[in-house]
């Protein structure tokens, strides 16, 4: 039995089996397609997912990239990013790489 993943800055994440990032043309929205679930991503969530799950990066590196992209203070966004990713982990949408 696996254990709950606790997301931190040092985590390296990947999509869980069966989870795919998909652009829904009909509704013009980015989504996570998952078992019996469609998670509609708003613009921020899409950026967080894109940076954090790009492959080969840690959550810390993703936060760096997001801080730069949005010209936001790093320590103001890091908690929100980790909280969002923890929510995805708890729904088994992402896993440790």
């Amino acid at each position: 039995m696996s254990e709950r993943l606790t997301v931190s800055e040092s985590s390296e994440l990947a999509f869980e089996r069966g989870v795919r990032l998909h652009f829904d043309e009909t509704r013009s929205a980015w989504t996570l397609m998952a078992p019996e679930k469609v998670v509609v991503l708003d613009e921020i969530a899409h950026e967080v997912v894109s940076e954090s799950l790009a492959g080969g990066v840690s959550v810390a590196q993703a936060i760096d990239a997001l801080a730069q992209k949005f010209q936001a203070p790093r320590d103001e966004i890091s908690g929100d990013v980790i909280e969002m990713l923890q929510g995805f982990a708890d729904k088994r949408l992402v896993r440790a790489r």
Partner: protein, 367 residues
């Protein structure tokens, strides 16, 4: 009525053939025979039309969808059109090699049903000796194929006290997710209802265990829980509203809002052999019959919950009150509510009666 939006998912019932004979099967009592199943070309066209209509997910189901020789072709075709594909299977006929071929075709997710954590009772409910072991064997191959795994466990009076070990079994089988669904009384579930209905005490014990384990297993196993509504005070939002988010296509091509809708006698369903899916979605008289809120009688039409529960379930209203147009009698505002509660309590105390197994023959088999 608000503007019609696109559906999100279709249940593609490729066949009604199945090696199992589960006594609560949601398929209709009159099953579609192989000779009347849609052919590969028609399904390919339907999948094209589904993608164009804005559908995102396709659930290949049945019956047992792996009896279709064209399953891999259909999965590949759907994936090629950007659809997310899910296989809902008994797990009896497949092996790891087939799962790898399906994964290569683009399959994302597999759902394997289990009937119990106790193999003997599980096989009895499924009417198939050795079924449970085959399911366990298949589950261990799902991760190798890099597919997501959900275990579907259907609960009733004979297995409800084992809910804890059913959840453990899903964990042992390597699932990321388990659906704990109390039997929904449609199809073959109706004749077997007196044998399956749990007692209120059993339900309350299960509810407590499921809530505790949802918390304990957070981040480990997603537990989706479908409550048994005969004992409820509010109806379920059946299908999130009639023909609002979801379509069901039967093996012979009829387009339904849910798998049980053919029980409603005066509805005329359109068929994908005759019309395009977008046309059917917008114009089918059956799909428009209970869409939205305009059809609602009181107490639904003025109810603050009308766009949350959508009046509950039409098929259940028919089965329990004699009219599909009534408020779902599970709702405490329905004049039939007390009768339904009394029926559940009475049937939960029924002594053992013969099970009616799912079957193609006109005269159902019993034990």
């Amino acid at each position: 009525m608000s503007e019609l939006s696109a559906p999100f998912a279709i249940l593609a019932e490729l066949t009604h053939r199945c090696p199992l004979r589960c006594v609560y099967c949601s398929n209709p009592l009159e099953l579609v025979r192989r000779s009347n199943e849609l052919d590969t070309g028609t399904w390919r066209r339907v999948l094209d039309e589904a993608a164009e209509l804005g559908i995102l997910q396709v659930h290949f189901s049945g019956g047992e969808p792996t009896v279709r020789k064209d399953l891999e072709e259909l999965v590949a075709h759907a994936t090629g059109r950007g659809l997310y594909t899910n296989l809902i299977t008994s797990g009896i006929l497949s092996d790891g090699e087939q799962l790898i071929r399906l994964a290569d075709a683009g399959l994302a997710h597999v759902q394997i049903s289990i009937q119990d954590s106790d193999d003997e009772t599980g096989d009895w409910i499924a009417g198939y000796a050795g079924a449970q072991q085959k399911k366990r064997d298949l589950a261990v191959t799902v991760a190798d194929a890099n597919l997501a795994l959900t275990i579907n466990a259907v609960m009733h009076r004979h297995n409800i006290d084992r809910i804890e070990s059913v959840i453990d079994m899903a964990l042992e089988m390597g699932a990321q997710r388990v659906e704990i669904a109390n039997v929904q009384y449609y199809g073959w579930g109706i004749p077997n209802r007196p044998n399956l209905m749990p007692t209120l005490d059993q339900l309350e014990s299960m509810n407590a265990i499921v809530l505790r384990r949802q918390e304990e297993l957070k981040g480990v196993l997603v537990i989706d829980y479908v409550v048994p509504d005969y004992y409820a005070r509010r109806p379920k939002a059946c299908m999130n509203g009639w023909a609002r988010r979801f379509l069901n296509i039967t093996p012979s091509g009829y387009v339904l809002p849910c798998h049980a809708a053919e029980t409603i006698p005066d509805l005329v369903f359109d068929n994908v052999r005759d019309k395009g899916l977008a046309d059917i979605w917008a114009n089918s008289t059956a799909l428009n019959r209970f869409r939205g809120t305009d059809w609602m009688p009181e107490p639904c039409s003025s109810c603050e919950y009308r766009e949350r529960d959508w009046g509950g379930c039409r098929c259940q209203a028919l089965a329990l009150t004699g009219s599909a147009e009534n408020t779902d009698p599970v709702c405490e505002l329905s004049p039939f509510h007390d009768q339904v509660r009394a029926l559940a309590e009475s049937e939960s105390q029924t002594r053992e009666v013969a099970l009616t197994y799912r079957s193609f023959s006109k005269t159902p088999e019993t034990t």
